[in-house]
């Protein structure tokens, strides 16, 4: 920080300090250089490319030389029926997922916390975490084995019990069951980790005091266990609400199919379909940008709500 008025002597001292600083700190900058370069190229590079949402882009003219068209592409997207269908589906699938998949890990974590046998707890946790590490492609493969109408196991069992086969993969309402099943299956066990972590901080004396009062196990769960994970529940709930417009690509793309596209087509698969399959890069970028901006608004909004309700932001 050399100021213009600094005397030559002072400036010399500062230069000396700077070179001492550099002599010691250059290694840190050297370490940072490549990762920062990575962020600039691969994370900020695409942000530069976002400008094609406002341009009549095609592959031959390139990003810089394509003509500006203002908001024309936005008007076109907002007039597309499919855009509203995929937007609705994104909210719908996320919302149903929240209702079904959000409580599961809470219940499971409370049950695991009550287990006294160490080996059973460890064993069940090991198994419950496994689905989290399985790819959607593999889950898709398994789902078709399980839910198929002709040879799927579940329909086999249903028919054995005298019920009619349910078209879990090809009728949109039944397909929702399939979709939600995969969510619970994959995330319920893994989701317990954060709640169990919160429970490690519970004061054991509370339970001892409750024992003295003769409280039953269920009462202890209701009055001690549940209140101690309440902050975690609220934070995760708000975080999930903040992610309502963002949806992964793999799950709806792989679990969904053309027969149920009316429900399975979401923003992420829509972007892929019109952008990379149909080559309408500008329109797909508009949809992606819309999703990113609305997603940001949701996240910031949920952070604000979190600060208001829990006194602590989620960011």
């Amino acid at each position: 920080m050399t100021k213009a008025k600094a005397t030559p002597l002072k400036r010399y001292g500062e230069l000396n300090k700077r070179s001492a600083y550099l002599k010691r700190y250059w290694q840190l900058y050297a370490l940072l250089a490549l990762p920062i370069l990575y962020f600039v190229i691969f994370r900020y590079g695409p942000m530069y490319g976002v400008q094609i949402a406002f341009k009549d882009f095609n592959l031959f003219t390139g990003i810089n030389d394509s003509e500006w068209i203002g908001l024309e592409a936005f008007r076109e997207v907002f007039a597309m029926n499919d855009f509203y269908i995929t937007l609705r589906n994104t909210f719908m699938l996320n919302f149903l997922d929240l209702i079904v998949s959000f409580p599961a890990p809470i219940i499971l974590a409370i049950m695991l916390y009550e287990v006294r046998s160490g080996w059973f707890k460890r064993f069940s946790q090991t198994v419950l975490y496994i689905p989290h590490f399985i790819s959607w492609v593999i889950i898709g493969g398994i789902v078709y084995q399980l839910f198929g109408t002709q040879s799927g196991m579940i329909n086999g069992v249903l028919q054995g019990l005298g019920f009619e086969a349910v078209p879990f993969l090809t009728e949109k309402n039944s397909w929702l069951i399939t979709y939600l099943f995969t969510g619970v299956w994959q995330s319920a066990g893994w989701g317990t980790i954060l709640y169990l972590a919160a429970l490690t901080g519970v004061n054991k004396e509370l339970f001892e005091a409750a024992d003295v009062d003769g409280a039953s196990r269920l009462r202890k769960i209701w009055h001690i266990t549940l209140p101690s994970i309440k902050p975690t529940i609220v934070t995760l709930l708000i975080l999930n609400l903040g992610k309502m417009v963002s949806i992964g690509f793999d799950r709806p793309y792989i679990i969904g199919n053309t027969a149920v596209r009316e429900y399975s087509d979401v923003l992420s698969t829509f972007v892929y379909r019109i952008g990379l399959e149909a080559g309408q890069y500008t329109l797909a970028t508009v949809v992606g940008l819309f999703q990113a901006v609305v997603g940001l608004v949701f996240i910031l909004g949920s952070n604000y709500i979190s600060k208001k309700t829990t006194g602590d932001g989620i960011l």
Binding site: L28, P35, E114, A292
Partner: protein, 290 residues
Amino acid sequence: MSERTSNRIFDVVNITFISLFVIFCLAPFVHTIAVSLSSNRAITSGEVTLWPVETNWDAYAQVFSDHSMLRSLGFTVLLTVATTLLCMIFTIAAAYPLTKGNLKGRKFFLYLIIVTMFFSGGIIPEYLLIRDLNMINTVWALILPGLVSPFNLIILISFFKNLPPSLEESAEIDGSSFLNTLLRIVLPLSLPVMATLALFYAVGRWNGFQDALMYINDPQIYPLQLKLFQMVQNNMVTELTQLEGANRTPLTPEALKAATVIFATVPILCVYPWLQKYFVSGVMLGAVKG
């Protein structure tokens, strides 16, 4: 009813419910294994549930004699190892300097990184970037775009910050350079968290599908997931043609698909239990915000 018996009943009910959930998690795998070992006749007539019918190993023999499948497996293993190594090097190189409060520009670099957690250009601009960099159909398209996960980076930064400062300080008094301190003191103390992050990166790459779908159309470098996906899709076609009552075209037999699914799952299951004790603490660390 005495307190002890009601406690007993609670335990039994509780353990029963957890066991049911454990079975719920395992049953799909067991069924798939059963299908992979059954005859095609038994599968299509819906006789197979959780135990193989007319047991045979033909499907596995077929998977292991399929050169393209083995090549894809080998390629994916190499790709996963290389990606994980590079990701770890980059993440460590970014995390360590950012724990040093005296580093000028630290705040700026942190903001530069954190912004990317909340906003991204989207897949089309990403695709165009990879295209402009001439990386389509190269392994670089699968390695470089995900080199540093900001989330993992924050986990590592907060772990480094929680190390006892006295160790580093004494090394600094002895005149150890930053790089030396990082390699000799910080990293050896951080093995659990590094195992966690390496697992996250490895699983992410092993399971990664969308980037392969977007960037790779050369069968020579199909990652396993993409190869597998084509069979799953094939499965879907079966389901749809049956729906329309059309004649079944000769397709990949169910047993072969199931065997392939198991073939792609086993490597993950081999690695994962050994790292479990690490990643649980790692995830908790991530929950404590950076």
